[in-house]
């Protein structure tokens, strides 16, 4: 694994321990998860115990120690999205992708996440697909968005 990017990320934050969470975010953005080797490198560069790094990486929900899929599907289940039917959407998405929130499909195409609030409450239920926000979601619209992404990949017309 090429660990040069990790080096550059730690340089960017001037080896500051206080920047640990930001560093881990950048590493995750680069590799789509936190690879073991990368964490070891961060630990040695920051002169920290690897256990401390694991502690932080597993405490905060944004981090993943397993590779994420190509497309990230994040469904908001904040209170506003909840009362407007968010749970119905997640039920359908779980059925469609055959995974639980926090997991990635076997073909590494989709990762499904739920978050507590994306702060776009006025137009809930809200779904974020590859950093793009979609408002006023319902089960059928959510399914269509994912099917469209899937079809693009294989080139098969629905």
């Amino acid at each position: 694994m090429d660990l040069k990017p990790v080096d550059l990320i730690v340089d960017k934050y001037q080896e500051k321990r206080t920047a640990l969470i930001s560093i881990l975010h950048d590493v995750q953005d680069r590799y789509r998860y936190l690879p073991d080797e990368a964490l070891k490198m961060v630990a040695s560069r920051l002169h920290m115990d690897i256990n401390q790094i694991y502690g932080v990486a597993t405490f905060y929900k944004s981090f993943s120690l397993v590779p994420k899929g190509k497309h990230s599907i994040t469904l908001c289940l904040g209170t506003a999205c909840h009362v407007r039917g968010g749970p119905k959407i997640i039920r359908e998405l779980k059925g469609l992708l055959h995974i639980e929130p926090g997991q990635t499909t076997v073909d590494r195409q989709f990762s499904l996440n739920v978050v507590n609030c994306l702060g776009v409450c006025a137009i809930g239920p809200v779904m974020m697909v590859d950093r793009k926000f979609y408002g006023e979601m319902n089960p059928i619209r959510a399914i269509r968005i994912i099917e469209k992404l899937n079809n693009k990949r294989s080139g098969v017309r629905p």
């Binding site: 409450c121 137009i123 408002g135 089960p139």
Partner: protein
């Protein structure tokens, strides 16, 4: 960018910017908040850019992407100044018409104006729309005038003048006195008097002190701080500068949650620009005062909104809270005295310094002063951010500003205070909104989430939702919160599955009491509030689930069943088209029926049925 070295420099800069702005006849301001982005405001902006350039009008018209004016539901929003014409739900294909009609000829584009739903008349200016009319927008009012990525826009509306006033005309103790007499209380939840907190931090022994801006807005259903940080980050920085000077701190942190990428980006840009302009860094405005700000990023942990957990997180550690026998104003970040306020609190500071504590304390109630921003969301017609004077009633917010019920279902409650708050029933909607009265009825102000619930919302499900939310977010350090919430969740699960019995509610209440009394930090201490308030006002719904095995709101799936009324079904086939599990059968123009073993109870069919033939029991 200009570097200002004195108050005179700042004044001159402001005048130069204003003179430059006058050369443009018109301003087109496009909302660039996250809500409008979801509706495609970037394409709207790009279309304006293209059209204006093609027509050679870039010199005459300023195009601005601004922060959130609050009416997210009607996005993308576009306002044309100086005429103050408010266009809603604007699409890229509307842009040529806006340019040829409004910008060239001063005529309004009728179909983009807001229509008053009761009077069916078109409204031109935002101020006349019922949603905005009853608001008092002190903090949010500048959001639609400012491009948050241009410090010049903030300076032009008088930005950083309060910092100049504080540095040159006031002693630190005078600033603290001013904030104390203003009656400003923390907008993050608990409502602790801001001036008193500053005073305690100033008096705490130690050379090095820190201030922190809490932008970890974790309460689900709340986005006031996001809108302020995205839309007007300099107002927060200015407030922090004033606070740092009053407290005697030279370093500040803004802790931004990971879920707010745009807030993070705009805060970063604002800090860099303020540094370049000499409004952050060494010898600010030639006063000899040094102050700089860094951004720390969250990692998706709700508990990090709690001050000691947030501090642990900035230090790069696991975000576990500690006991607060020693307050953070004495020992906070790296053991140094630390003053932490949330975004909205900091944003209020420049206003108070500029217009005076007397003016500020004239707004609001006896113990709650100023305005408060709420995120009015859920089952209400007009959703978005509303800024209102303290002391307004819930009824005014939900019905006058919010426009009342959304789709024919009666509003029955409003949830305030996030997972630490509670549900207030419609019978108490005459209640005034201030720190004390919301606590009295078993909820709290919290950071400002206001989630409206109607007959289609199951209160047992809402209680269960919050308990599971907090159980997930409990850091696990103390037992009552970690285990107690888990057990409470299990009891609520069993009730919503129709397995509750007569012991369930007694046990739930007993557990709630123990968790509240014995948890370490605020998260656990307040965690039972949503359950207790639901039991207090909606006990009947719990009993329906337990004894009748029914969910009156038709939400709890184990207790409901969908069916199609043969008599009403027109056989249009809309339901079978949207059914994700292909559970609906029927010939075209013949009555359809649902295969119960396939039905996932998602409710898609009920949403599309024009004949109201889908029934849920």
């Amino acid at each position: 960018m200009r570097r200002v070295k004195s108050v005179e420099d700042l004044e001159k800069w402001k005048n130069d910017i204003l003179a430059k702005q006058k050369r443009h006849e018109m301003i087109v301001s496009v909302c660039g908040g996250t809500g409008c982005q979801a509706y495609g405001c970037q394409k709207v902006k790009a279309a304006f850019q293209k059209e204006l350039t093609q027509k050679g009008m870039r010199e005459r018209v300023t195009l601005k992407v601004t922060g959130c004016p609050g009416f997210c539901e009607k996005g993308p929003l576009v306002t044309i100044y100086p005429q103050n014409i408010f266009y809603q739900k604007v699409k890229p294909e509307d842009i040529p018409e806006i340019i040829s009609e409004t910008i060239k000829n001063g005529r309004k584009v009728e179909h983009l104006l807001f229509e008053d739903p009761s009077a069916h008349r078109k409204i031109t200016s935002a101020n006349d729309i019922p949603f905005y009319r009853s608001q008092m927008r002190l903090l949010l009012s500048r959001n639609d005038l400012i491009d948050p990525t241009h410090i010049e826009d903030y300076v032009a509306v008088g930005g950083y003048q309060s910092l100049a006033k504080a540095l040159f005309q006031m002693k630190p103790t005078e600033i603290i006195e001013e904030i104390k007499t203003s009656g400003l209380r923390g907008r993050g939840g608990a409502g602790y008097p801001t001036g008193k907190k500053w005073e305690n931090c100033r008096k705490a022994p130690g050379e090095t002190k820190y201030i922190i801006c809490n932008c970890d807005e974790g309460d689900p259903g709340a986005f006031m701080d996001r809108a302020l940080m995205e839309g007007n980050p300099h107002s927060v920085l200015e407030g922090m500068g004033i606070g740092a000077y009053a407290i005697g701190a030279n370093n500040g942190f803004i802790y931004v949650r990971h879920e707010y990428p745009l807030a993070h980006k705009n805060a970063e840009i604002a800090i860099q620009q303020a540094r370049k302009a000499g409004l952050l860094g060494k010898d600010i405005l030639g006063s000899g005062f040094n102050f700089d700000v860094e951004i720390a990023k969250g990692g998706g942990a709700f508990v990090c909104g709690e001050s000691t957990a947030l501090i642990a997180s900035i230090e790069g550690r696991v975000g576990e809270p500690r006991s607060k026998q020693i307050h953070t104003v004495e020992q906070g970040l790296w053991g140094k005295p630390t003053n932490l306020n949330n975004v909205e609190t900091w944003a209020n500071v420049p206003l108070i310094i500029n217009r005076g504590s007397q003016w500020f304390s004239s707004i609001g109630t006896e113990k709650s002063k100023g305005t408060k921003i709420f995120s009015l969301v859920g089952k209400v017609k007009n959703t978005g951010l509303v800024e209102v004077p303290m002391g307004i009633t819930l009824k005014e917010i939900i019905f006058d500003i919010g426009g009342g019920q959304q789709d024919g279902k009666r509003i029955k409650a409003v949830q305030t205070g996030g997972p630490s708050g509670g549900c207030i029933p419609a019978s108490l909607f005459d209640l005034t909104v201030d720190f004390e009265s919301l606590t009295q009825v078993g909820s709290m102000m919290g950071s400002g989430g206001m989630i409206v619930m109607d007959e289609g919302t199951c209160m047992v499900d809402v209680a269960k939702y919050f308990v599971h939310f907090l159980q997930e977010e409990s850091c696990g350090k103390c037992l009552p919160c970690r285990e107690g919430l888990k057990r409470m969740g299990e009891i609520l699960d069993s009730i919503t599955e129709g397995k509750g019995d007569k012991e369930s509610l007694t046990l739930l209440e007993e557990l709630a009491e123990v968790v509240a009394d014995t948890s370490l930090c605020g998260l656990g201490k307040t965690a039972p509030n949503p359950v207790l308030s639901a039991l207090r006002y909606f006990r009947g719904e719990f009993e329906d689930h337990i004894y009748r095995k029914k969910c009156p709101a038709a939400v709890c799936t184990p207790l409901i069943q969908y069916s199609i009324s043969e008599a009403d079904c027109t056989g249009c086939g809309a339901c079978s088209k949207v059914c994700p599990t292909k559970a609906i059968e029927g010939e075209r123009k013949q009555s359809h029926h649902i295969l119960l073993e396939l039905c996932s109870k998602c409710g898609s069919c009920i949403d599309v049925c024009k004949a109201s033939a889908v029934m849920v029991q």
